[in-house]
């Protein structure tokens, strides 16, 4: 830990603001590990949720059969139930059905840990919203583009892959940014199943160090920063993909 920070934090403490995470090595490490866990949740779930969103939207766009019905049912279920309930459902209900392994000294260890359950629940949650986002993005692509591709001999699938998807993606960014900001904030729900993410460790810190007020402010600042980074990254991707004269910029 940088000596300057440490000194600054101790000065602050003298004036009544007790930021243990800046001068206490133990709190600092807890905090950093919680922050890392939160970042890991954000990154991993963002990737999976985008994959789920893309796959689901493709199914909705290309098929009318039972697969599309299944996707619609999944989206409806996720969007209309609380995330906390979904998280508990996976961890307690589905988790209880999963096989249990053993660790080196013979104690039972679940094959799927709480971090993994959080990843599954959050990815499915954000994935459902991303399906809606990509579906409406694809829907915003005027069908004259697909038609031009068909007239050039593209199959429906190839027209989708090479023309509709690249254009639809560009209509999806604003809504995608919303979903991923929501996902970033929603990682705190993993606290409920004991994932040692940022909120979890912060709770430990303020319980031990009795600096609830300070830690609450730190929480707000950190999440504001994290969502800011998410929005910034999507903005950069969007700018890199913007097209001259195309309405989705």
């Amino acid at each position: 830990m940088l000596e300057v920070f440490r000194q600054f934090a101790l000065d602050l403490k003298a004036s009544g603001i007790n930021l243990t995470i800046l001068y206490d090595a133990f709190d600092f490490e807890r905090f950093v590990s919680g922050l890392m866990t939160t970042c890991a949740l954000i990154v991993i779930c963002t990737l999976f949720s985008i994959l789920i969103g893309g796959a689901g939207a493709a199914v909705l766009a290309l098929s009318r059969g039972p697969a599309a019905m299944l996707v619609r049912a999944y989206v409806a279920l996720i969007r209309n139930t609380p995330l906390l309930v979904q998280m508990y459902f996976f961890y307690f209900a589905v988790g209880s059905l999963m096989p249990v392994g053993q660790n080196a000294i013979g104690l039972p260890v679940p094959m799927i840990g709480n971090f993994t359950w959080a990843v599954i629940a959050l990815s499915l949650y954000a994935g459902a919203f991303n399906i809606e986002t990509f579906r409406s993005g694809l829907g915003a692509v005027h069908n004259s583009y697909e038609e031009a591709a068909l007239a050039l001999g593209y199959s429906r699938f190839k027209a989708f892959r090479y023309v509709v998807v690249p254009l639809g993606l560009r209509f999806s960014f604003a809504s995608l940014a919303n979903n991923l900001v929501d996902l970033t904030k929603s990682t705190t729900v993993a606290y409920a199943i004991g994932v040692a993410e940022l909120l979890y460790v912060s709770n430990q810190i303020w319980s031990d160090s009795l600096n609830t007020f300070e830690m609450m402010n730190v929480m707000l600042a950190i999440y504001l920063l994290l969502t800011g980074i998410v929005v910034w990254i999507i903005g950069r991707v969007q700018a890199a993909m913007s097209l001259p004269g195309f309405g989705a910029n």
Binding site: Y145, L243, G245
Partner: protein
């Protein structure tokens, strides 16, 4: 000048009928286009001109009748769509260039992705075609950076790059500012003079008269009258043709 006979025809429509819901849009259309011929279809808005073109390349399936292009039976449900659209090119009123692809990619992508032709060879051809359309310096621009007239000439090059036997032009100047109409019409004219079989839907009567060697007049889903341009424009016989020409000339 050659007159179209059914057996000499490259494109032939026999008794083509098409309804959208309860509205009969084509009510028995017969049309023959010989190889190398330039045919203009004129008629009031909503009379089914675009629909005729779209049935020829199979974008709009018909209810009754037979359409053939060379040895391909378009109305056969098992028609090879790639072969059909290889043979029949189309240029749209709104250009419908792919905004996410450069001009060169727009022209070259279908022969590469659909016909599997070698990229280098196709790109050479595409560059030649762009030069022919007097757009060689625009190869790396995006469609959104071009004027309407330039975009439409790219669209013509794109259709030509598939090396079709016939090209369908659907009111290709209707979306253009007046000062760009001429450049596009002369591009179409060049394509026709190079021997391409062309079926043009147009509201430019003077152009139809100068460029086409046969005129078809449609009204309410039937072909009311047809003839060679001079006879058609100077001595129209059907009262509906006379009324229409009175309005537009």
């Amino acid at each position: 000048m050659r007159s179209a006979t059914q057996d000499g025809a490259l494109v032939s429509l026999r008794g083509v009928r098409k309804a959208f819901g309860s509205i009969e849009v084509l009510r028995g259309v017969d049309l023959n286009v010989a190889k190398g011929q330039v045919v203009a279809i004129i008629g009031p808005s909503g009379s089914g001109k675009s629909t005729i073109l779209r049935t020829i390349n199979g974008l709009t399936p018909v209810d009754h009748g037979v359409i053939t292009v060379g040895d391909i039976t378009v109305t056969d449900p098992r028609v090879d769509k790639v072969a059909l659209r290889h043979r029949v090119g189309m240029v749209f009123q709104q250009y419908n260039l792919f905004p996410h692809k450069t001009v060169l990619e727009n022209v070259a992508m279908a022969p590469i992705q659909v016909l599997g032709e070698p990229r280098r060879q196709v790109e050479e051809r595409a560059k030649d075609l762009l030069a022919g359309m007097r757009l060689p310096e625009k190869a790396l621009s995006y469609p959104g950076e071009l004027s309407g007239g330039q975009q439409q000439r790219v669209a013509i090059a794109r259709a030509l790059c598939m090396q079709p036997e016939v090209i369908l032009f659907d009111e290709v100047t209707a979306a253009l500012d007046p000062e760009m109409v001429k450049e596009v019409l002369s591009a179409v004219r060049k394509v026709a003079e190079d021997g391409m079989t062309c079926i043009l839907v147009t509201h430019e009567m003077r152009f139809a008269r100068e460029a086409a060697n046969r005129i078809y007049f449609t009204d309410k889903g039937v072909i009311v009258e047809q003839g060679e341009p001079k006879a058609f424009f100077e001595n129209p016989r059907d009262p509906r043709t006379i009324e229409f020409l009175d309005k537009v000339l």
